[in-house]
Symmetry: C2
Subunit: 623 residues, 2 copies
């Protein structure tokens, strides 16, 4: 992978930073955040402005360009990738390391006195604006909104914003109608005494209306906003997608409805002016509820006294707790996904020794097997198909320049998932198609111990996920090892593969407590730069736990793995497992056999079934 | 324990809340925080205003009195105690429970429109003022500083502020002279480009000048502030203690010193006006460093643009990392403390069956044995000597009304510690002098497993203590049990038994990373209301850990127990321990034997030595 040459682009950007056509006053620094106007993690090509200017296309990162410097902040998952993709114009700022300055502190250290720092107010979240603005102001600088996006002014071949057809989801998939979701939302609004709720996150709009789209790759969402009043529903969305009879029927656009359920459809681009009108028409005590991560532009549309900002919206929290229909859908999706992976691994086992399977071939083959499954829609993220040293690049995606051939001498790490109409999957398995070294097995086994420690953890109701993070690391820590990423993220139901408000990470504190029905990933890892990567990931469902006692009647929770794909026993050093851990593996494999075995049988996939049976032979500990 | 009758006092307080002699405008609510002007946890009798008005004298709690209500916020350690000590005028607000409103939210819910909420600006920390003020303002109310403390106006027999003689500590105890501490502080100030540092916490003043006092019971501190400039040192302190030749010599008050080390001693009460003078004389860019927990009054003395506020001061952080002299002192103190406790437990074992030992008698006996040890100064906190149901009152202190007799039928919990000139101790042991039930042993063993999980944990450099909290709970959680307090706190070196900036608690996120040389407690517990309490507490030193590998060269840490008192093996259900845990107990007891045994021998305490040897017999697991 050769880095993008950005000398000319940076020159152009530095020119527009001083061009009165775009900025009222010259800006001495310009911030290019990662997200789009909805603070999405995965973004459409037209929103990949940070990748355009820097070459670094990981899912998280913020670029800041000053007259002298260009710097990129990203986290441990992307240190290697960013270093590979950026040319020498750029300085990599490794977030999470002790000596790395924050963006604000860095700006203060490099800017001349009284500088202006520009940013697109539609792209920067309000909470981030506030934090940066405060630090900059106290150092004598100013954060200023630049209405026209400066990257767009120099991006001559910027693609169009997508506007693809919609998918409607019926009750079998969603469990709750959009009307009932609106009713529940309004009751939360009444509780907090707010009159309006502004839906800015794309997955929240999709979830609320039981619609899905494909405007953004991997995330089944569509560009839209919604503003929900106690008696009105406004949906801001472009295109002819509203002409689709199925969508009109689903949203009951042509039916006689009680006025409070009548949806007014408005142009996507009119959200700011409509919101400004709402803001201007508020009576005292009429509050407007927004996420504190909504864009600075939309937040500013509501006068400060009328804003009610929370880190997590009621939709975000409701969406995270899956109902019975969604949970059953997720189970089905994971069984189908396991069928596809059994086929894949069986195929790899035969093909890898021939020396013809590259990372890209393997990824394509995984997609091919998944696409054979019922209700398959697309992948849920770019497949991480990585062998040997590529496995240590945590969010690696194979491209022709880096594409490595799988062999019987290197560890292979596959982190992949799909969107099915009934659920979203995300699974990582680490395999060896030859004979792993003792050291590789040792590291794999520590990671497995961490995986089991989280998966089998029992904890009281009300526990936040971040309190479980250290369980995943303990076995690694004992030997002086660790991994530089969180342990788990929330997973949507035929929605974004990463979603809030829960997760398992030492980095956050503001996560919402885990509740029965929430779904998260459990994915500890270990990475040795230049050598190999190991990660074991299941998607797990939070379920009530039976315990011997019940302190203060709080009740307990634990996890049930939804992912049912064998964990390669060849990689396990059984003598490093406790009896309990050994039993966990055997029971997990027994469940894979029963549930996925039955489905393989039903689909007539006999060879994959034989592979499954062989790979799920019980472990035996040497006593 | 009968509650304090507060009807008349509340009536008087509500009168002064409207009395123009004390308030510019009537206040509809008055906040009585827990602390003193230094935000101390342990306070002098003259500062026990919250206890005076409510009767509740636990170490943490905030009272708010409105015209209609009187409410008390406290945490899980004190729910039972507060309920016992307060009469029906008071509503107990149980912090940490889901449905308990914050103080601000509660005020907003009960106050009439446009209310004024009063508070003593010297008592409320600036960060808390800011948070409350913001919420109140956004709900149309005002937080206002009331200069005269309203409790003091009705507290007719309020005791005098103490002003006791000082103790000087030489290099054998402190390892670093006060001059070198000033030099180090000024270098931190230069790093952050601040010109002044205001020392507001009593233990920080004491640490900085290598002085100790006894103005506050249990904490060897004295009422003082200090303001350190790049070339000046001002110490604000009352009394003739400055006439003591030892103190004058120690501070070199009469020597010819470089001017930047010349200490100006000023009256304690002049801090505000002196600080206002400093604030008025600042040139642009001259910042003043304060803790964000300094009082609102002192913080306001410095114009906002000149303030540099941090949650932890450089003194707080330097003080937490003990040097070799301090560590050795702490070791010595803990050996002497163990000698006293071996004597005590040996004595209890003989006396308890006679039915004559009450909780108070046992506490007094513990103090007696401790006071026989070299360099004993005082206790480090009020001894928690509790048997049976009293053990479930987490911060119980025996008083005549509650005093229970120890028996062979109930669990006895003793949480106690002392100040020695060379170190501070804090140890909890839970004993049974008869035959514990299987259930009591089971619970004790889970707590022990949690204690060991923390004590034996290995974790990377840079890990914050809160990430270890769940290790202490895991065994309890597995059975549906838990405890409602943190797992550990920082411990001072002949200073406060609770100190920041590190600790082990799920409640905090802003703790500083653990470093070699820091000292914390490890004290999981289990409490069954109305039945018993179990806690096992050691003070432990953070030390480098040897590990097989060393990921990213970060290095690893672990803990070394400084406390060396046997853990009652009679209470352990050995079959619930893993082999590793069993070995930990045996190795710990072996060390108690060797180290404390030698000291018992040296002191000629042969009976206690025999007790120690018997109590440290190795555990044997049934295989």
């Amino acid at each position: 992978m050769s880095p993008k040459i950005t000398t000319e682009l940076l020159k152009q950007l530095r020119q527009v930073m001083k061009n009165p056509r775009y900025v009222q006053e010259p800006v001495q620094a310009y911030i290019v955040p990662s997200g789009d106007a909805h603070q999405s993690e995965y973004i459409a090509p037209c929103d990949c402005r940070r990748a355009f200017i820097s070459g670094f296309d990981g899912s998280a990162g913020t670029a800041i360009v000053t007259e002298q410097h260009a710097a990129m902040w990203t986290d441990g998952r992307y240190f290697l990738q960013a270093a590979h993709q950026m040319d020498s114009n750029w300085t990599l700022m490794k977030m999470g390391l002790k000596d790395t300055p924050t963006q604000e502190d860095w700006l203060v250290s490099v800017l001349p006195e009284g500088s202006k720092v520009g940013v697109d107010p539609f792209i920067i979240p309000a909470d981030q604006w506030k934090r940066m603005s405060k630090v900059l102001r106290s150092a004598g600088h100013d954060l200023v909104p630049v209405k026209e996006n400066l990257i767009d002014t120099i991006w001559t071949d910027c693609p169009q914003r997508p506007c693809k057809p919609l998918i409607t989801l019926d009750l079998n998939y969603t469990g709750v109608s959009w009307r009932d979701k609106i009713v529940a939302l309004r009751s939360k609004m009444a509780e907090r005494k707010v009159m309006w709720f502004v839906v800015t996150a794309l997955d929240e709009v999709a979830w609320l209306f039981n619609l899905r789209g494909s405007d953004v790759e991997y995330n089944p969402v569509f560009f839209a906003y919604a503003v929900i009043g106690m008696n009105t529903i406004r949906l801001f969305m472009d295109g002819d997608r509203m002409m689709d009879p199925a969508v009109r029927e689903h949203l009951q656009l042509d039916s006689t409805l009680e006025p409070e359920f009548k949806i007014q459809v408005m142009p996507y681009g009119s959200i700011l002016s409509e919101l400004q009108a709402v803001g201007a028409g508020l009576s005292p005590k009429e509050k407007v509820w927004l996420s504190d991560k909504a864009s600075y532009a939309l937040t500013e549309a509501i006068p400060k006294a009328y804003r009610y900002l929370t880190p997590y919206t009621p939709i975000c929290i409701a969406k995270a707790v899956k109902n019975a229909a969604e949970t059953e859908g997720m189970r089905r999706a994971h069984i189908k996904d396991a069928v596809a992976l059994c086929e894949l691994f069986n195929w790899l086992e035969k093909e890898v020794p021939k020396g013809t399977v590259t990372e890209i071939v393997a990824a394509d083959k995984a997609e091919e097997f998944r696409s054979q499954q019922k209700d398959f829609v697309e992948l849920s993220f770019a497949t991480i198909s990585s062998t040997g040293p590529n496995g240590a690049i945590i969010h690696y995606k194979p491209v022709p320049e880096t594409n490595r051939t799988l062999s019987v001498n290197e560890i292979y790490l596959l982190d992949s998932g799909a969107q099915y109409k009934d659920g979203t999957t995300d699974v990582t398995r680490t395999m060896h198609f030859g004979t792993p070294s003792a050291y590789e097995k040792e590291c794999f086994t520590y990671v497995l111990k961490g995986h089991i420690a989280v998966s089998a953890a029992i904890f009281p109701n009300g526990t936040k996920g971040h309190l479980l993070d250290s369980f995943a690391r303990s076995a690694l820590w004992d030997c002086g090892l660790d991994y530089l990423h969180g342990t788990g993220h929330g997973v949507g139901s035929f929605l974004n593969v990463h979603e809030g408000p829960c997760g398992i990470s030492y980095k956050t504190f503001a996560d919402e407590p885990l509740e029965a029905g929430m779904i998260v990933s459990d994915e500890p890892g270990y990475y040795e730069d230049g050598s190999f990567g190991i990660r074991i990931e299941n998607v797990v469902l939070v379920i009530p736990a039976e315990t011997k006692y019940n302190f203060k009647n709080r009740g307990s929770l634990t996890f049930e793995p939804l992912t049912l794909v064998p964990i390669q026993t060849k990689m396990i050093d059984v003598n490093l497992l406790t009896e309990k851990e050994c039993n966990w593996v055997n029971e997990y494999h027994q469940k894979c056999r029963e549930v996925v075995g039955a489905e393989l049988e039903r689909q007539g996939r006999h060879e994959a079934l034989r592979w499954l049976l062989r790979e799920t032979e019980p472990l035996a500990r040497v006593q």
